[in-house]
C-alpha cells in the first residue's frame, strides 16, 4: 500500500519534474559551468577554469551598467503602473460588452512580432519620420526654437519603448484584481471622510496589491533582460545589461563572460523580486 501510493506520486510528478530538470536546471548548470571557463581563440569556451569572468563583472564599468539597467527598468515599471492603473480602472468600469472588447484590444499587439512593433515605434520617433517632422515643424518654425527635438536614442526613448512593450503585462493582472474589487468600498471610505486620494491609498491599493505586484514583476524582470528595445530605441547610447549579454554571446563571442553576467543578473533580479513580494505581502496584511 505504502509503496503503491509512493509510486503513484512519482508517476504523477514525473512529467513536471522532467520538464523542470530538462529545461530549467540543466541549462542553468550548463551556464554555471561555462561561466568558469576561459574564452578560446576560436571563440568556443575552453579550460582552464577561472573566476576572472566574475571579477571583471565587479569592475566599475559593469557595476554602472547594472545600476543603470536597474534604474531604467525601475522607472519604466513605475511609468507602466502610472499609465496602467487609470486605464485598467477605466476598462473595468465599462459596460460588460465594451469591457471584453477593451481587454481584447489590449491583447491584440501580442499577435504581431515584438521586433516589428519596436521598429514601428522607432519609426515614430525617427526625426526623418512624419510624426517627429510634424512636431519639429511646430517646434522650430512656429515656436522659433533653434534645435530640433531628438527623442530617439535617448534614455527616455528606451523607457518609452519598455513601457509600450510591457503595458499589457501590467494591465492584465491588474484587471484580474480590479474586476473583483467591490466599488461600494470606495463609497464607504468616502462616507467615512476619506477624500479620493486617501480612499485610493487606504482601500483600493491594498486590495489590488496582488495584481499590482504580479504585474510589476512581469514588467520589471523582462525590462532588465530586454535587448531588442535597447538596441532599436537606444542605439549605442543607453546600454543595458541584457544587450551586453546578448553581445557577449554574439559579436564579442565571449560566452564565459556572458554566462557570468547572466548568472549575476539572475541572482540580482531574483533577490529584488523576493524582497518586493515580501514587502507587498506585508503591506497587504497591514
Amino acid at each position: 500500500m505504502q509503496k503503491n501510493s509512493s509510486t503513484r506520486l512519482f508517476g504523477l510528478m514525473f512529467p513536471g519534474a522532467f520538464w523542470l530538470i530538462a529545461f530549467f536546471f540543466l541549462p542553468i548548470l550548463l551556464i554555471v559551468g561555462i561561466s568558469f571557463l576561459t574564452k578560446g581563440d576560436s571563440g568556443s569556451p575552453e579550460l582552464p577554469l577561472t573566476i576572472d569572468n566574475y571579477s571583471r563583472t565587479f569592475g566599475e564599468e559593469y557595476l554602472t551598467l547594472f545600476g543603470r539597467s536597474l534604474w531604467i527598468s525601475l522607472i519604466s515599471t513605475i511609468l507602466t503602473v502610472i499609465i496602467a492603473f487609470p486605464v485598467t480602472i477605466w476598462i473595468v468600469r465599462l459596460p460588460k460588452k465594451w469591457r471584453d472588447m477593451a481587454i481584447f484590444l489590449v491583447m491584440i499587439p501580442f499577435w504581431t512580432n515584438f521586433l516589428l512593433r519596436t521598429y514601428a515605434l522607432r519609426f515614430m520617433f525617427l526625426n526623418e519620420g512624419p510624426f517627429m517632422r510634424a512636431i519639429n515643424g511646430v517646434w522650430v518654425d512656429t515656436l522659433g526654437n533653434e534645435n530640433e527635438i531628438e527623442l530617439l536614442f535617448t534614455q527616455f526613448s528606451v523607457m518609452l519603448g519598455l513601457v509600450y512593450g510591457n503595458l499589457p503585462f501590467m494591465i492584465l493582472p491588474l484587471y484580474a484584481s480590479l474586476e473583483k474589487f467591490d466599488w461600494t468600498l470606495l463609497e464607504a471610505a468616502s462616507d467615512l471622510g476619506a477624500d479620493v486620494w486617501r480612499s485610493f491609498v487606504r482601500v483600493m491599493l491594498p486590495l489590488t496589491a496582488p495584481g499590482l505586484i504580479a504585474g510589476s514583476i512581469l514588467v520589471f524582470v523582462p525590462a532588465i533582460g530586454n535587448y531588442i528595445t535597447v538596441e532599436l530605441m537606444g542605439g549605442g547610447k543607453s546600454q543595458m545589461i541584457g544587450r551586453t549579454i546578448a553581445q557577449q554571446f554574439s559579436t564579442a563571442n565571449n560566452w564565459p563572460f556572458g554566462a557570468a553576467l547572466s548568472l549575476i543578473m539572475m541572482v540580482v533580479v531574483t533577490a529584488a523580486a523576493l524582497v518586493y513580494f515580501r514587502v507587498g505581502r506585508g503591506e497587504q496584511a497591514r
Partner: protein, 366 residues
C-alpha cells in the same frame, strides 16, 4: 408644499433624481426631525436607496435642494458631509481588522491615536462585540458584521445615520432581535436615524414616522398609527397591512364623515383628504375592524347580510371570507372567546351579518 422647520435634521425640498428617462426620485419633499427614527418604506425600485444616496452625497439631485442641519448641501462631496451610512452589503474593508474598520472614520479626521483606541473600544462595547477587535470581517457571522458596520458609522458621532436595509441579509429571528437592539441603540445615542426598508412590520414597530414611497414619489409621511389607520390613498392602504376595498361613489359629506354607495348598498365612513361629493371613491376597512354577528342591531350603520364563503383558523384569530353580493370581504375575528365550542364558528354557506363602525372605515380617492 411642506412647511420646513429650520431645526430639521434633514430636509428634502422638491428633489428630483433622473436616471435617463427614469425618475428614481420624483419631486420628493420631506423634513426629518432631530433625533427621529424615520423610515422610508416602499416596494423594490421605488427610490428608497436613491433618496439615501442623495442625502449621503453619492448622487447629485437633478433638481431640488437638500439641507442637513439647515445647511444647504449643494455639491458638497460625500466625505465632507456629517452623515454616515450603514450599507446593505455592510461594505466592511476586508483587509482591515474590526478595530481598524471602526477606527477608519476617526483616522480620516486625524483624531489622536489614543483617542481613536478609546472610542473604538466604546463603540464595540455599544454593539456588544468588545472581544472581536482583532478579527477580520471574513471571520464573522452576518449579524456580527452588521454590528461592526453599525459601530463603524456610530463611532463618528454623525448628525444623521443612514441605514439601507441593514437587516435585509439576516434570518428572521436575528432580524427581530436586531430590530429591538437598533431601536434601543437609537434612543441611547440620540442620533437621527433614516432607515430604509421594504418590510412594513419592521417600519411600523421601529419608527417614529414613516414615509411611504412608490415610483419615486413620497405618498404619505406620518406616524405608524397615522399610516395604518389613516392612509391617504389606495396604495398606502394596500401596502401597509391588509385591507378590504369597496369601490363606489360619494353621496354626501357631513363634517368628518360621509356616505358612499357601493353597488346599491350605503356605507358611512370617515372622509379622507380631498374627497368630494359625487367623486368615485373607495372605502377601505381593515379585516380586523369588521365583525360578523348572528342577529343584526336594527339601528346600526354599515350592517348587511352576507354569506360565509370560507373559514381558516390560524390560532390567534379566525380568518373568514364572506360574500357581500359579488364582493369578497376578509374578516378577521380574534379568538378571545373559548374556541372549544364548535357552535362558536360560522360554517361555510351560512348567513352572517357583517358590521363595522364608521370611524373604522375610511373613504379615499381613487
Amino acid at each position: 408644499m411642506a412647511q420646513f422647520l429650520t431645526d430639521s435634521a434633514v430636509e428634502l425640498c422638491d428633489v428630483v433624481k433622473q436616471f435617463g428617462d427614469v425618475a428614481a426620485v420624483d419631486h420628493v419633499s420631506m423634513a426629518i426631525r432631530q433625533k427621529e427614527f424615520f423610515s422610508m418604506l416602499g416596494p423594490s425600485g421605488c427610490g428608497k436607496t436613491t433618496c439615501l444616496r442623495l442625502i449621503a452625497g453619492f448622487e447629485q439631485p437633478t433638481k431640488g435642494d437638500i439641507r442637513i442641519n439647515g445647511q444647504l448641501m449643494g455639491d458638497t462631496p460625500a466625505f465632507q458631509r456629517n452623515v454616515n451610512t450603514v450599507f446593505q452589503s455592510y461594505a466592511l474593508f476586508p483587509h482591515l481588522t474590526v478595530a481598524q474598520n471602526v477606527g477608519f472614520g476617526l483616522e480620516m479626521k486625524r483624531v489622536a491615536s489614543d483617542e481613536i483606541k478609546r472610542r473604538v473600544k466604546e463603540a464595540l462595547e455599544l454593539v456588544r462585540l468588545p472581544q472581536m477587535a482583532d478579527r477580520h470581517p471574513k471571520q464573522m457571522s452576518g449579524g456580527q458584521q452588521q454590528r461592526v458596520a453599525l459601530a463603524r458609522a456610530l463611532v463618528n458621532r454623525p448628525q444623521v445615520l443612514l441605514l439601507d436595509e441593514p437587516l435585509g441579509a439576516l434570518d428572521l429571528k436575528l432580524r427581530k432581535e436586531m430590530q429591538i437592539e437598533l431601536k434601543n441603540l437609537q434612543t441611547q445615542v440620540g442620533i437621527t436615524f433614516i432607515y430604509v426598508t421594504h418590510d412594513q412590520e419592521e417600519a411600523l414597530t421601529m419608527s417614529d414616522r414613516i414615509c411611504v414611497m412608490s415610483k419615486g414619489k413620497a405618498l404619505q409621511i406620518g406616524s405608524p398609527l397615522e399610516i395604518y389607520e389613516r392612509p391617504n390613498c389606495r396604495f398606502v392602504a394596500d401596502f401597509i397591512g391588509e385591507t378590504n376595498f369597496l369601490d363606489g361613489k360619494v353621496l354626501q359629506i357631513n363634517g368628518e364623515f360621509g356616505e358612499i354607495e357601493v353597488s346599491g348598498r350605503k356605507f358611512v365612513g370617515r372622509i379622507g383628504e380631498g374627497v368630494r361629493v359625487g367623486d368615485k371613491a373607495m372605502m377601505s376597512i381593515r379585516p380586523e375592524k369588521m365583525l360578523l354577528v348572528d342577529k343584526p342591531n336594527p339601528n346600526a350603520l354599515n350592517t348587511y347580510e352576507t354569506r360565509v364563503a370560507s373559514i381558516a383558523y390560524v390560532g390567534s384569530d379566525t380568518r373568514i371570507i364572506v360574500k357581500l353580493g359579488d364582493t369578497q370581504v376578509d374578516v378577521w375575528e380574534q379568538n378571545s372567546q373559548s374556541t372549544l365550542d364548535p357552535s362558536y364558528f360560522f360554517k361555510p354557506g351560512e348567513a352572517a351579518w357583517l358590521t363595522f363602525k364608521p370611524e373604522n372605515a375610511l373613504v379615499i380617492k381613487e
